[in-house]
């Protein structure tokens, strides 16, 4: 097999993102991570919702399902359950993930499907030209919040920790090498892995710049215990500095494990016949 490079996973389509968009770097880190895993592009499936970041699947040569706003995760779960051999990666932005699709994040965490979710957080709705998102800074005034912002912002990593998401990490798009390593580990993780990525929108969010991100971030201690949920929560609670790296990484049964166990129990209930067919189902109605 030929050695894969990031380029092996790129389509010929040029991204429609603005010139300074952080998402370019996320695309680079993601495709570099894909190359490390060595999984063939046609064995990978990307899902996304709607928004700037959700356009990413078009820029890869993997299979992709660009769904409607907020629904990247349910689509990914359906794909993975029906086709467990595939590597499934969902991508999207902060509005897609934490606002319109917020409910799905909770329940994906509960189900623990073996998929990876990369959220490119620019703290703004960019595609609709700049409205406050659930992660926007409280001081960010936009055309739809011209006087004052009403809502508090959410803390995605802390939220994931509270749902016991089985792999939780944060990266910064400019630190491409670290982001690549995190994504490789996220893909290789058995279970639902969540990667929160700072990816500035220079066009519409002047509160979040590359410079401000650089100033704000700090690496988690090298010896951070990724099994310690409480400790991870305390790092996640800290907003200044904003910690980067793998917060949490535990093993628990995946959705696939549970479904196989259910299959076993369902067969036990009928005494494990060697061959159970539709005709046996129909007999119940005779």
């Amino acid at each position: 097999m030929l050695t894969k490079t990031a380029q092996s996973y790129r389509s010929k389509t040029n991204p429609s993102w603005c010139q300074d968009c952080g998402d370019y770097k996320v695309l680079d880190a993601l495709t570099a991570a894909m190359a490390v895993t060595g999984v063939e592009p046609h064995d990978m499936v990307m899902t996304s919702g709607v928004g700037c970041a959700s356009r990413l699947p078009f820029y890869t040569n993997c299979y992709g399902f660009h769904t409607v706003h907020g629904r990247a995760l349910p689509a990914a779960i359906g794909i993975k359950v029906a086709n467990k051999e595939r590597t499934v990666i969902s991508v999207g932005g902060d509005g897609d993930a934490f606002s319109i699709g917020g409910n799905h994040f909770i329940h994906a965490s509960r189900k623990n499907p073996d998929i990876t979710y990369i959220v490119m957080d620019n703290e703004i709705y960019g595609m609709t030209k700049g409205q406050n998102s659930p992660t926007s800074h409280e001081d960010l005034l936009t055309k739809i919040n011209p006087y004052e912002v009403i809502e508090d912002r959410i803390n995605p990593v802390l939220m994931a920790l509270s749902f016991n998401t089985s792999f939780i990490a944060r990266g910064y798009c400019e630190d491409e090498e670290q982001l690549k390593d995190i994504i490789v580990k996220a893909i290789q993780h058995r279970g639902f892995s969540f990667v929160h990525v700072l990816s500035p929108c220079t066009q519409y969010n002047h509160k979040v710049t590359y410079e401000s991100c650089r100033k704000r971030i700090k690496q988690l201690p090298e010896n951070h215990d990724t099994k310690d949920r409480i400790l991870s929560m305390s790092y996640a609670l800290t907003q200044e500095p904003l910690y980067m790296g793998i917060f949490y990484d535990i093993q628990r049964p995946t959705l696939h494990d549970k479904l196989e166990h259910i299959r076993e129990l369902s067969m036990n209930e009928i005494g494990n016949p060697a061959n159970y067919t539709l005709n046996d189902v129909i007999k119940q109605f005779e």
Binding site: T13, E40, P41, H42, D43, V45, T47, V50, R55, P57, F58, N61, C62, Y63, G64, F65, H66, T67, V68, R71, L73, P74, A75, A76, I77, G78, I79, K80, V81, A82, N83, E85, R86, N103, H104, I106, H107, K111, L259, I262, R263, S266, M267, I270, Y276, T277, L278, N279, V281, I282, F285, E286
Partner: protein, 591 residues
Amino acid sequence: MGELVIRIVGSPGDGVISSGDILTLAAARSGRYVSTYRSFPTEIRGVDQSLYQLRISSKKILTPADDVDVLIAFNEKFLRDNISSLKTGGVMIFDSSENNAQFEEFQNVTKYFIPMTNLSKEFATERSKNMVALGILSGLMPNIDIKDEIKSDIRKKYETKGEEVIEQNVQAFEKAYTWARQNIPQKAFLENLAIEKSGKKLILSGCEAMALGALVAGCKFYSGYPITPATEIMEFLAKELPRLGGNVIQCEDEIAAITEALGASFSGVKAMTATSGPGLSLMSEAIGLASMAELPIVIVDVQRGGPSTGMPTKTEQSDLNLAIYGTHGDTPKIVLAPINVEDSFYQTVKAFNYAEKYQVPVIILSDVSLGERRECIDAFNIEDIEVIDRLKPDTIDVNVPYSRYTKTYTGISPISTPGQKGGAYIATGLEHTEDCAPSSKPQIHATMTEKRFKKLDTAQSEFLAARKYGSDDARFGIISWGSTSGPVLEAIDLAEKQGYNIQALYPRIIYPFPTKWINDFLDNKDILLIVERNYCAQFANTIVYRCTCMNKNLQIHNLMKYNGEPFTTNEITTKIDQIIKGQYLKFTTHQ
């Protein structure tokens, strides 16, 4: 020959539904046709009545019938509420344990005052009065010998409750049977009633029939959110699908349910979700996604009273507009409406076939009365049922980019499956070119919209004609859809006995709209009656709007019912009578 209609009424907790279920299964297993109707309050301990009606017959039947031969009542209020449905010469069985009323005013019926609660205490426990009722009934009709079937179905019903409960219920039934044989001297017409048996049957509910149809069609993925009255489908599949290599996923909401099913379909697996009106509303956006991305999916809507939360346990046919017109944009899809339990099975298999073949979402419109009704269907061979799989690219040249949405003569383009080399593509809800590039160019949107609708033209050219009932030379036509068709067809039989020549048309494919079949049907009609269970005349309005022949001197009438209950045959014959005698209201559209 032979037929018997039984109704059992009581408060929730009296065991009305359990006893009805047992009697239904027993009658079906004995080789007779059965059709049922059940109704119970939305609240588990409500103040409304629980009602179970079953019709046992030697021949295939279309409805659970209007009037009954036997009425079993556990309290006075519900006896009084139902006595008008008891036929002249019918049998009333009343629980007289705590009520000595003699109901002198009920004329021309045989009245049995049986202290069923007291007998239950004496024979087993007081909770078995419903089994006492079954014992009394069996004792009254020795020629319809289903005693053994009842006993075996009692065992099945209480299987999970332990041996003690099973024994108490069997005891109550058996002792009540013996008691009835010894203590009821005059046994009315039931004593000699016989109902012939015929071939092997399956007995199942409308919901079970759809779940079974899905399995036979090859469904391997179901995702859903609990909702009355569709949950029975999910319960059945949750038990069976894992054994057949499939999976059932409980979702956080209906939006996730349909999107997971679409994900599974994208993965190459036949997928279904089922819901009721509120869920279908939530699913609308994703139904459009399925249309745009051309992904096969089957969506069952077991309609209930609406709008909003409406009446979860009451029946209505008011989601027609939502199913046909509900999604934003120009959305090719197929909508099917089975008319009875047997049809629910076969239409579900067809729904999968159509979804796979034409790569569109297919919505099946059932309703509470049909989904919960149990009916017999003739046993079948699985091998005889046609199952269609989606068109796949035979071979893909890895050197040429795969064009997922290639325009073809039929509109149908082959779908690759993740894992297939050279077949990678992006399914998207955005307008796109043939090779999946997002595009908002005028030319692309126009031609790709045409391409997607081309599939419906292809489908329509392949669909069989809508079903008709009655004589082609009839000048009076009735059009109905879904479960309303049962009473309509029965009404036509009754009308024939009065010398009226009436023909019915009942399309099971509701969308693409059966304009051609309706026009053909109306060609020689002078009078048209459209019957449906909603306030806004949803089907009638669409017929009037779409069918050009409405220009001629056709007299159009319609009959709507919107109180949450199914039509009785009598309501339709009454309307026919009024129209023929000229005492009618003209066509009304409330909105």
